[in-house]
Symmetry: C2
Subunit: 353 residues, 2 copies
DNA sequence: GTGAAAGCGCTAACAC
DNA sequence: GTGTTAGCGCTTTCAC
């Protein structure tokens, strides 16, 4: 490979390939198309403002030279690098995966790149990721949640970069926010169970010290259940991650502590599915003895046996609305309006209630 | 906001905030620390090569000025932009989500950023993403699969950027590869069922025209089943995405076409779970009448009722090994060895077989 | 160990 | 519509 290169280098004039094969630049394209570099630059960014003749010549030169633009140089010159930094707890979480995928697709249309960071639910890690993100002079930052370390908030505020906080509503955002209220989700679950005539209910959650959105759902659930005349409303938490297996454990725990429960709300569908399997094993009929509602509308919810009533958060909508706000802000500096978008959520009733 | 800025600008000297408040640069830090910019640069990249005195002064200045380095400028100057571009079908797919998350964590330790792209199983989209990726002069490119459009391969080869193809083994990689053989996965499933005494088996898959890794699993399954004396070995495909619901549909179809089946292998655990639920509804006992094996070891597999035998692909290992190869290559240009890493996979036996 | 100088490849006024 | 001129903020020889 290197030998190959050298042999070319020896034979050629010195313009190309001095040491390594020099990268093809915009100037090379300009030379070949007999125009100036700035015309090539203009053509690349706004083709319609260049004369057809020049445009064609440039296109031909790009093709012939296999020119690949250098966005790093472009970003430096323009002082805004078409990068949007997206910081979420983890894409292993299907909720965030959905939003990240949608965001990437939507931003990609506007020729923006997504840079990804995972906090793994650590505020320290989040702050470090934000610091790194800012070093890329990003066109925007998307970050999950409204709760951040003080340093993170300070950094973000000082940066003057558009910031969208996603998947949560309730407190005042740093800049913009797209999401819904998790307290309302909990409230909706309780409300649904009460309307179905249930009186004695438990909320099953996992790792709610760290996942404070889950904790908010629990809070909303308990408050609404009690306000609406539930005879019993308790919350049971496990420090472990919210897996299907933990769902089974939580159900066992709940039934042991309160054998006469008639309804269960789960912090998410993984837990609900675990509870469902555990009920199958114990021959606890759903929904006859126990009504069951989850959160997430994960892929298995509609096909479960019985199918799972759940609350669907609009992960894709969050992605689309976030992209829209970001793009609007970039187009128009003083777009002050509409800093917060409530995407709401939907209760999907199925057989389990 | 703007008014605020103006009032400050009016009162201040002209050094800071001419129009907008000028960004703090490395020179500012250097001035304040009474050293040259290149010393600051050196300190930032190799702190140990700078004298303690200078180091402390610089650290203090950075702190005082709230200096945020500009990686875009750094990337341009160094002609290598600490970015690794990761291109996968979708992070909505739990397999890729796992790998992407691990990759980001591992690369992050080496101060590399992950840029994300989703092909949505389109080769055209993939090529376009590769083109964009190269424009960032990335330190590496990670891309799912071994099958790409000819143009994609040409671009990648010409770029001289380290490339790792992941989640598949079998053909010759462009550069490096980390993954396992999907034919072997199918073979292992068939082998497992045969050993459990099954004779009449079907492979259930979805969208196998597009997801050709699934198609490879089907192939390996059929070939091995037949070689090892299965009386019946068929493959059933649905053009729809591989969801839990489609799993139920496929099972119904399989049982209708071959009522005397005694084993089912599914292209992934979502399908397997759907098949499992459908069996529950039809009172088809698992594993007595029908043995069931999936692929993926998704979170619900171990907790299902009955628990699901499946094949676990090492999504996290793939991420870690990919990071390792990339880092090794960056450290040492002519690292020729070990271009392909077979991560293997594990058959996890549970109640469903 | 530290500094001076020379770009990296592009964009963005501003003339023409 | 097109070209000229300055940088963007940093890294990297190469002296000292």
């Amino acid at each position: 490979m290197d030998a190959n290169l050298k042999s070319i280098g020896t034979a050629e004039r010195s313009t190309r390939s001095r040491r390594k094969s020099r990268r093809v630049t915009m100037s090379d394209v300009a030379d070949r198309a007999s125009v100036s570099p700035s015309t090539v630059s203009l053509y690349l960014r706004k083709p319609e403002t260049v004369s057809p003749a020049a445009g064609q010549a440039i296109a031909k030169a790009i093709e012939a030279l296999d020119y690949v633009p250098n966005f790093v140089a472009g970003g430096l010159a323009a002082a805004s690098s078409r990068v949007v930094s997206v910081i979420v707890p983890s894409v292993r979480n299907a909720f965030f995966a959905e939003t990240v995928a949608t965001l990437q697709a939507e931003l990609g249309k506007a020729r923006l790149q997504v840079m990804l960071g995972h906090t793994e639910y650590s505020e320290r890690e989040e702050e470090s990721l934000v610091r790194t993100a800012l070093s890329w002079a990003p066109a925007g930052i998307v970050i999950a949640g409204l709760a951040h370390a003080p340093g993170t908030i300070k950094l973000l505020r000082a940066s003057r970069v558009p910031v969208v906080e996603i998947w949560e509503l309730g407190a005042t955002p740093i800049d913009m926010a797209v999401g819904f209220s998790h307290r309302q989700v909990g409230a909706a679950a309780a409300d649904h169970l009460i309307r179905r005539g249930r009186k004695r209910m438990a909320f099953l959650g996992a790792r709610m010290q760290e996942d404070h959105r889950a904790a908010q759902r629990a809070e909303g659930f308990l408050a609404t259940a009690r306000e609406n005349g539930a005879e019993l409303a308790v919350s049971i938490n496990q420090p472990a991650p919210a897996t299907v297996e933990v769902g089974g454990v939580l159900l066992a725990q709940a039934l042991q502590q309160h054998p006469d429960l008639d309804a269960i709300a789960c912090s998410n569908d993984h837990l609900a599915l675990g509870a469902l399997f555990e009920c199958q094993r114990r021959n606890v009929p759903i929904p006859e003895q126990l009504a069951l509602i989850g959160f997430g509308d994960l892929p298995f919810a509609s096909a479960a046996n019985p199918s799972l009533t759940t609350i669907r958060p609009p992960g894709d909508l969050i992605g689309r609305e976030t992209a829209r706000l970001l793009l609007a802000r970039m187009g128009d500096e003083d777009k002050g309006a509409e800093q917060v978008v409530d995407t709401h959520f939907v209760v999907v009733q199925r057989q389990s209630t």
